[in-house]
Chain length 113, copies 2
């Protein structure tokens, strides 16, 4: 099997009107993605509710999340990582409007019971 | 289940005499680690030969790897990621001597046949 490689800051999408997701690596149950946000946020009233767990790392830009049941927003800056358990409802309140926010996201199943 | 979080650039080890590995997240077969190198390299003649696959991202500093069978070194700068298949023998030739090299490593099993 060949190695694959790339750079998370290269080939940033020119169209900044939507969030862009690139699949970097995939195996049974595991998915590693680069996500680029350009000021996008979750629509009012929308909550992510994922059946898989998610581990995210913010590499550039900034963002604020709301995690259901927590009053304070969770602000993220470069180097910040966050593990979001399955079915932990969350929203993106804002992402940096002045520069691309580059995320790495690792999606993986819950441990077998 | 609670969220967990941290920052990859915080709490860098003061002792720069050895490579330091911190486990950030673990599930069945999946391990996410922060690795800090401070100029360390693989000993002469040593090759990593891992039964698991590894996906690595370099966040600060720099490094050069040799992948068995490839003549040219694989140089890595911030934002560079590399997927190393299971049993792809490789060595770290050098890491930045002037600053910590911060890596994210995702270890995961080979796909079931």
């Amino acid at each position: 099997m060949q190695t694959t490689y790339g750079n998370l800051f290269h080939n940033l999408p020119l169209d900044r009107s939507a969030k862009v997701v690139d699949l970097l690596h995939q195996r049974a149950g595991l998915k590693i993605e680069r996500i680029i946000s350009n000021g996008q946020a979750s629509p009012p009233g929308f909550w992510y509710d994922n059946p898989q767990e998610e581990w995210v790392l913010l590499l550039s830009g900034a963002a604020a999340l709301t995690l259901e049941g927590k009053a304070a927003q969770h602000i993220m800056h470069p180097g910040d990582w966050l593990h979001i358990p399955a079915h932990c409802r969350h929203r993106i309140e804002w992402t940096d409007a002045g520069q691309p926010t580059v995320w790495l996201a690792v999606h993986h199943p819950i441990d077998p019971p």
